[in-house]
Symmetry: C2
Subunit: 463 residues, 2 copies
């Protein structure tokens, strides 16, 4: 658990890496990032060795990287899409695709979150696990249960993770009797209760926000979508849902909403397609839908691990970006098999290569571009691009310290605490970063800060 | 390093999992596997709790799984394809595809293995790393250097890994001046020296075999391929090479070998396409080539992580299996980004799902099928299906102990030694295995045995 002591002025000294633009990383080998008592970045020095003489910062605390490593922004947006309640089902999907997966694996588990003690155990673990994987901002889907949803908000606040916490709304008969909102009115009432709870625990939304969460069009009725759209307009609270993940789902939406022009049109008709809407998946969008989404300034959370695992299809990230839509990454636990945005970053790269096999090299996402999606892209998706996403003066310090193990002569036994990346010492800084991207895991994220507060650390951080 | 004390009779007590058939796992929750002083499996008991009274085994050593976990066969075949010398380049490939990747990243690194101390450091690490990832049998590509290749064989023997060690043959001008065999004759002479070395250190090939290794057709001349084919027939030593990984490569082979009917035909013409040949990749084979390979009983090593990372294409595993070809898995380090066959098992599943998006669900590999490729499939590929691949009486005990962490109430901090898989306690045994497959890593492989000898362990094994 993070300490609740007031923050000290701190200088983070060592190499740092962050996105400059969509396709370019800044690789600074001798950096120093000054963070004030409110967790804000006050200066970023590219020649950090002399930093201790900086006026006003002579007695600042110094956090230095020992050995090979670098500071990297906390992963964000990411999860611009994570079903916290589904965490225990990670890796469990068999050969299913979306609609049968929901009925077989997902609804029974989510339904059990009426049990608050069960919810506490799982949510505590999800937040600990995502923080340990460097996720400093998450947009969570909880369940329909108000107490458990509020508990997740409490846990995020206590553990210091920046979070959007959504109470899932679903009143249509697609959902089983045992796990469904009684009515549209009841869904709205429950959402209001969750909004009120967040207002109480974090009135200025410093870390925690509610997010209005119709599960997806087939789980809702036209009436409930409309009422959620009204709630969105009335309160200004952001919203999230799924769109166009799977072909059968798209067919189903056509049947259920014959009067809407398209799947995106369903949300637009309800007043939900705004610049505060995060749409997960977006695999099978038409060109018209893409343009509508761009015109409405809605955001997309790309969930490549999930899309591959349950064979939904390949989201065209390059096309979305070229259309002018903001894209971030989501784990989509547990359709996605991993809670790690670093794994999802790799999966985004793999998916782009699979598209490239059919459509040519221009659609490939580079390492740099995928890391952008995981940080600044995600920040735009959750509407916090002015606050987080990179090491810029005025932004809040949401960061992870990445440390990589150097292979020593004769050091040939691997143990539990040894991470997956081997550094031989003659790698360029750029290639060191690449080695982390392609083989790194939670063991390399030795410390994590949100708004300047240390919210996760491993023994290697102290070492 | 493994102890060289004589083995004791040992009973491995606890759940075990292995492949029964291509699409079926045996999940035994109460097993006991008896292994004799030579490392051979003497009995497999499916109701293991009463095993201590077995006549002749009353005083046998007992190795028990504490907590959640199971015994699983060591990964094999796997790497039916790994370039040991390329290990330091893991994750470093940029946007390259095969032919430019070779020139930019690969040849310069391999060329440096004339330095035996460098080779020692890297090879020691590769073997330690693959063992730690549960790979009990590897087929290695070394480099053209005889001393370094022999050193790799020595290291495998000392560390106790079953290995096929190949001295790479490449005399064509595709390779740069600084890294090429002088002539076909010199390539054969060097290969013979390596064959002799293995005869000296392991005359019965108990663990180590040489493997004749023409890099791939474009790296060799027609003459050298023919001479390697003759060497193969003369000595009976197995062989390995690459085939049909990338479309430009296939075009190049057509140009270089106009008189051969096909890429597979090039190897066939040289007398290399036999039942002891391992062909890596096989992405763009024609139906005729598949049938030729089946008729010659040659084997295929599927390298999905590599094929995706450098955008080579998707190997049709289902088609190959249906044609009657034996298939195993290879990491193809460092075209492949990971040294872990468990990661490659996942990648095989992802690639099959990407093919399924275009060709339908029947091509999907299930979890069970992918695990088969990683164990029994691999055993067939390296010609050791009578010795290893599963827990059958008469086979040698090549195994890993998998241990998964159970989430305890209030246990919400993650540290360096915590693995990636969270078990909540109410998972079925089948789903526990699935959780390992989709999120497990080296931290879950707490002990590894080859031929009954403990060759890797972590602190959690003792705990």
């Amino acid at each position: 658990m993070p300490s609740d002591k007031p923050l000290e002025r701190t200088i983070y000294v060592g190499p740092f890496v962050h996105s400059k633009t969509f396709d370019e990383l800044e690789l600074c080998e001798d950096g120093a990032i000054g963070v004030d008592e409110k967790g804000k970045i006050t200066f970023v020095d590219r020649h950090g060795t002399g930093v201790s003489n900086r006026p006003g910062w002579e007695s600042a605390k110094v956090v230095r990287i020992s050995g090979k490593g670098f500071f990297f922004p906390g992963f964000i947006g990411p999860d611009s899409h994570i079903h916290a309640s589904q965490y225990p089902n990670l890796g469990i999907f068999g050969k299913s695709t979306l609609l049968d997966w929901l009925q077989t694996y997902t609804f029974p588990l989510e339904g059990s979150f009426s049990d608050l003690e069960k919810a506490r155990k799982i949510y505590n673990r999800v937040v600990a696990r995502t923080l340990a994987n460097g996720t400093t901002t998450a947009a969570y889907y909880a369940t329909i249960h108000v107490p458990a949803t509020n508990l997740l908000a409490d846990i995020c606040q206590t553990r210091g993770q920046r979070a959007f916490v959504g109470r899932v709304c679903m009143n249509s008969t697609l959902s089983p009797d045992y796990y469904r909102d009684e009515s549209a009115e009841q869904a709205i009432k429950a959402s209001r209760e969750c909004i009120e709870h967040v207002k109480k625990i974090d009135p200025a939304n410093e870390l925690i926000s509610h997010i209005i969460t119709p599960r997806f069009a087939p789980s809702c009725t036209k009436e409930s979508l409309k009422m959620l759209g009204d709630l969105h307009r009335e309160t200004g609270v952001p919203c999230q849902t799924h769109i166009s993940e799977n072909k059968n789902e798209c067919e189903l939406v056509k049947e259920l909403y014959p009067e809407s022009k398209s799947y995106a049109g369903v949300y637009d008709d309800a007043g939900l397609l705004t610049d505060k809407m995060i749409l997960a998946h977006a695999v099978h969008l038409t060109q018209e839908e893409k343009e509508l989404i761009r015109d409405r300034k809605s955001k997309i959370s790309h969930c490549p691990a999930s899309n591959t695992a349950i064979t939904s299809g390949c989201c065209r990230v390059r096309e979305l970006m070229d259309t002018g839509i903001d894209v971030g990454l989501g784990t989509d636990v547990s359709g996605g098999f991993s809670p790690s945005i670093l794994e999802v970053t790799r999966q985004a790269i793999w998916v782009s290569r699979h598209i490239a096999m059919h459509e040519g090299d221009h659609v490939k996402l580079s390492t740099e571009e995928a890391l952008y999606l995981a940080t600044r892209g995600g920040a735009k998706v959750v509407g916090l691009e002015d606050k987080i996403g990179g090491f810029d003066v005025g932004k809040e310090f949401d960061a992870q310290m990445v440390r990589l193990d150097e292979v020593q002569d004769g050091d040939d036994e691997l143990d539990d605490e040894d991470g997956p990346v081997d550094i031989f010492g003659n790698e360029s800084f750029e290639n060191t970063v690449a080695k982390w991207v392609y083989n790194g895991n939670h063991q390399n994220t030795v410390a994590v800060w949100v708004k300047g507060r240390l919210v996760h650390q491993t023994k290697k951080f102290a070492a």
